[in-house]
């Protein structure tokens, strides 16, 4: 069984403590160690301590962790999908370097 941590109740992403294969079941725990939910990974997650979506997130919607906005979805994100630089963008700084 793979584990993930949800930091604050209004977060829509969780941090997975391991790598994931698509379809694997992930047990979601709160910061206090209480079991909250199960989510199936809908994509592979290639590295440990990366994020997956706890719910579906539409393009342009807020991505929340620590109970705060960590960015906006730059693509539609499925429940259980890996979230990283390919589908989230920063609020304050541009994504691409000016060259």
């Amino acid at each position: 069984m793979k584990l993930a941590i949800r930091l604050k109740p209004n977060d829509n992403v969780v941090t997975v403590t391991n790598v994931l294969k698509r379809g694997e079941l992930v047990s979601i725990f709160s910061e206090e160690g209480k079991k909250i939910d199960n989510v199936n990974a809908t994509t592979d997650v290639p590295l440990p301590f990366h994020k997956i979506a706890l719910v579906q997130i539409a393009k342009g919607e807020e991505v929340k962790k620590y109970g705060e906005i960590i960015g906006y979805a730059s693509e539609p994100i499925d429940k259980g999908e890996w979230i990283h630089v390919h589908n989230i963008e920063s609020v304050s700084l541009p994504e691409k370097e000016i060259k």
Binding site: F49, S90, K99
Partner: protein, 393 residues
């Protein structure tokens, strides 16, 4: 929890945790002499700055601040002769702490070999005097802790930073002082930090600090993903995510002020408590800058496995990543990865860090000290770029 530590009382009332013999080259042109002099005396360490021979007051202020740090027992300045940050300019600032101070200058003292010989003799006598100093017991209100994170990953915000933050809360409650910097890693967190300001003036300064650093990043075309490859591979996707994890290392107590730098004066903490510093997100210069305003010890969190130590201060390494700890145990003092594994709580690890910090203050050596790490880089903020950013953006 022990709240007393052993230290060296300096003539100006500051308390040193170590008795370093500092050999400071005024610039890279005299660094070779400084290294050769310091190599002759076991307790000595040679440092310099790398920005050439012009007199940049922010660089000179930090050099003076480092020599004035209470972990330094005595300083030998090693000058070249034609540089603009002269041994006299540095000496005037350092002299105020009334610690032993001397200088040698290659172009004045007859070239490299005579300068080295003269320097070694002075240093030998300084080392003899320092060896006679006795440590005394001091209350934790005399402790100033620098808090830094480097090589962060997603575990930093889940485990290492909250655990260090817990230790910082204990320190502040006991009357101690802590400083954290890296304004770029406060991006998107200014509203959280400002809520903790002791008053409206400090809240405004926090907003200004973070917005200026954002302006600086935008003006230079620095993207959200300027973070290192390791930060990204470690699960951090945006600067806001990195920042929200990073600020947890400063704990939860009130913020007493934002320590600023005019070009020739570094602001020091006026009284005990928690402070932010306007500085850099680059690890070694950030640590050096906090030591230049009197911090004596460093709590340093890492996810990927930063190996940083410092020339004049003990650095305690804490990782929140259990994989990194088992892989790099030789470099890491505290395994906060136990929090992620469900084997320990944040408060328990926080207490462990606090207790280790008090023991290290009293002389217990950290892993970087045992390895003889003497990292040292002075931070320089380009005054021309700073001016342009302020006026054009």
């Amino acid at each position: 929890m022990a709240t007393e530590f052993l230290g060296y009382e300096r003539p100006d009332g500051q308390v040193g945790l170590r008795n370093h013999l500092l050999v400071m080259a005024t610039c890279d042109c005299s660094h070779q002499e400084a290294i050769k002099i310091a190599t002759a005396i076991p307790s000595a360490v040679a440092v310099t700055q790398w920005y050439g021979c012009r007199n940049d007051p922010l660089v000179a202020s930090q050099m003076i601040g480092i020599a004035n740090n209470p972990n330094v027992g005595a300083t030998l300045l090693v000058g070249h002769g034609c540089e603009s940050i002269t041994v006299d300019i540095l000496g005037q600032g350092i002299d105020k702490t009334k610690k032993a101070l001397a200088n040698v200058v290659s172009q004045r003292d007859g070239g490299t070999i005579k300068t080295i010989e003269k320097g070694i003799r002075i240093l030998r006598d300084m080392a003899t005097d320092l060896s006679k100093e006795k440590m005394k017991s001091f209350d934790i209100t005399n402790l100033i802790v620098a808090v830094e994170c480097g090589g962060s990953d997603a575990t930093s915000g889940l485990a290492a930073n909250p655990a260090v933050g817990n230790a910082i809360d204990k320190l502040i409650d006991a009357g101690g002082t802590a400083i954290f910097s890296e304004p770029i890693e406060m991006t998107g967190t200014e509203h959280i930090l400002a809520r903790r300001a002791v008053n409206k003036g400090v809240a405004s300064k926090i907003y200004a600090l973070v917005h200026n650093s954002e302006k600086w990043a935008k003006a230079r075309g620095i993207p959200s993903r300027f973070m290192s490859k390791g930060n990204l591979d470690g699960g951090l996707s945006t600067i806001e995510e990195k920042s929200l994890g990073a600020i947890l290392k400063g704990g939860t107590r009130s913020i007493q002020g934002v320590l600023e730098n005019s070009r020739n004066r570094l602001e020091h903490p006026a009284k005990p408590g928690l402070y932010l510093q306007d500085g850099t997100g680059w690890d070694v210069p950030s640590v050096t800058h906090m030591l230049a305003i009197g911090a004596q010890i460093v709590l340093f969190t890492t996810g990927r496995g930063a190996t940083t130590g410092h020339a004049i201060a003990p650095v305690i390494k804490v990782t929140g990543n259990p994989i990194t700890f088992s892989n790099m145990e030789d470099n890491i003092d505290v395994n906060a990865g136990r929090i992620i594994e469900g084997k320990a709580g944040i408060t328990a690890v926080g207490e462990e860090i606090f207790n280790l910090m008090v023991r290290v203050a009293s002389g217990e050596k950290t892993k970087t000290e045992m390895m003889g790490y003497n990292d040292f880089v002075i931070w320089r903020s380009d005054p021309v770029a700073d001016h342009l950013i302020q006026t054009c953006f």
